[in-house]
Amino acid sequence: MISIENVDKWYGASQVLENISGRVEKGQVVVICGPSGSGKSTLIRTINALEPIQKGTIRVEGRDIHAPNRNVNKLRAGIGFVFQQFNLFPHLTVLENIMLSPLKVARMDRVQANQLARELLHKVGLHHKADAMPANLSGGQQQRVAIARALAQKPPLLLFDEPTSALDPEMVGEVLIVMKQLASEGMTMVVVTHEMGFAREVADRIWFMDAGRILEESSPEAFFTSPQHPRARKFLADILHPGMEPQPPADPPAAQAIRLKLQPQ
């Protein structure tokens, strides 16, 4: 479905992606994780050409996304993209948000587009919000509408860029449930996320990135039980037990010495 070969990307003089290669097969769910600034969002944004690349090729269903003179609109129509900040169109109702692409890109007629939008809203459990404005929805609801909007393109591939990172904790679940359902229906998905529970349960492959490179590419079992790369071990320790030092705690005499030092004379 996706094949990425030797991709390099720079912002000016700083390299943000370095020799990235990878494959995503049809029906697979690939989770990209890694510390912030590791280039995972940049990578996923190159897959639908929101970001240009300087070297290498990215093919989606065999077609080179970054080839010059490529009809990028047509390619993007086949790739659903879900953003961290939802990016719903605030001047349109929920239904109009979902209908926009079917009407303007797929040239569907209004009745059909309306029916499709309502079906998709039902799928994400928000059929009662069809005529609401985005501003009146919670973050979790907005993200579910954004997923419905991406699905309205009837894409064979969905990209998620930290879909739950902007949500309050109690709303993360409702979005993950929708994503799990899509995965179980065989949708090909690439997901940048810090939700390790989701990764362990749903992902077929995990790509661990740091400093613009993919350092580890493995199955979730292998990644979570025996990560190979030291950076991956550090990352997992930080994210699964935040605030805990990976090293053993200081021995009592040393701790005592510190306490003595801190005491007023």
């Binding site: 929101l50 609109n73 993007r76 659903g80 605030p90 926009l100 692409s101 404005m133």
Partner: protein, 245 residues
């Protein structure tokens, strides 16, 4: 002041019409109205050209904006007065001359408002539209401009008000709008200059005031729609909490 209004009221309103061309407040309204209607579409294109990825569009548009913004309107009116006949090869009446000058000048200012309005939107809006497969033009038309224009409204109205007042300067090339009329009256009623010009000031003030309150109503409606507040039929919109009245 009353006696001036009684004596020259009609002159203030319509100039020498129906015995001559329409002038006075009528001419001011038409000049301002056509000026705005003409400059807005040009400004939209200029603003879009200023942020376009193509240099061939960006550079001339920037030259238009920077060039005209740095020149007083009166210079452009003079140039139009002497240049238009040379280009066309025939005399051009004062009214169309003034109209051309105002459109060209105001478009430069409005273009910057358009540019700021578009660039002020979160980039995610354009990204989301393009990710949905919309072309650049479709994304502009259906996603970016509807929001940007709503955000631009206050600055636009500011510029519109300034345009209405700017029309007062065209009396200098003989357009018989309301300032021209006031000048004429002043040559007759020399002793009442203050009152004549007070009437003129009030006329401009009321015109701008009407435009501002119209814009305020539109702005509030747009905001309420986006907030998803549907107004019960027949009830006036109350000012929102915390809003200055």
């Amino acid at each position: 002041m009353i006696h001036i209004l009684q004596k020259y009221g009609m002159l203030f309103l319509v100039g020498p019409w129906p015995h001559g061309p329409l002038g006075g407040l009528g001419a001011t309204l038409i000049l301002a109205g056509l000026g705005l209607a003409g400059s807005l579409p040009i400004a939209l294109l200029l603003g879009l050209a200023r942020i376009s990825p193509w240099r061939l569009l960006r550079w001339p548009a920037s030259a238009w904006v920077y060039g005209l913004r740095g020149i007083p309107l009166i210079m452009i009116i003079f140039w139009a007065y002497y240049l238009l006949p040379v280009i066309i090869g025939d005399t051009v009446p004062p009214f169309p001359t003034a109209l051309c000058a105002i459109i060209v000048y105001e478009a430069a200012f409005l273009a910057e408002i358009v540019r700021a309005g578009i660039q002020g939107l979160p980039p995610g809006q354009m990204e989301a539209a393009r990710s949905a497969g919309l072309s650049y033009v479709q994304a502009m038309v259906h996603v970016v401009l509807p929001q940007a224009l709503a955000n631009m409204l206050p600055s636009m109205v500011n510029q519109f008000v300034s345009t209405i007042k700017a029309t007062s300067i065209v009396y200098i090339i003989g357009v018989q709008e309301i300032t021209y009329v006031a000048q004429q009256i002043n040559t007759i009623e020399v002793a009442d200059a203050l009152q004549t010009y007070l009437i003129l000031a009030i006329a401009y003030f009321l015109l701008c005031m009407a435009l501002s309150s119209l814009a305020k109503t539109i702005e509030r409606r747009l905001r309420l729609r986006q907030a998803g507040v549907s107004r019960p039929a027949g009830r006036p919109i109350r000012p929102q909490f915390g809003e200055a009245q």
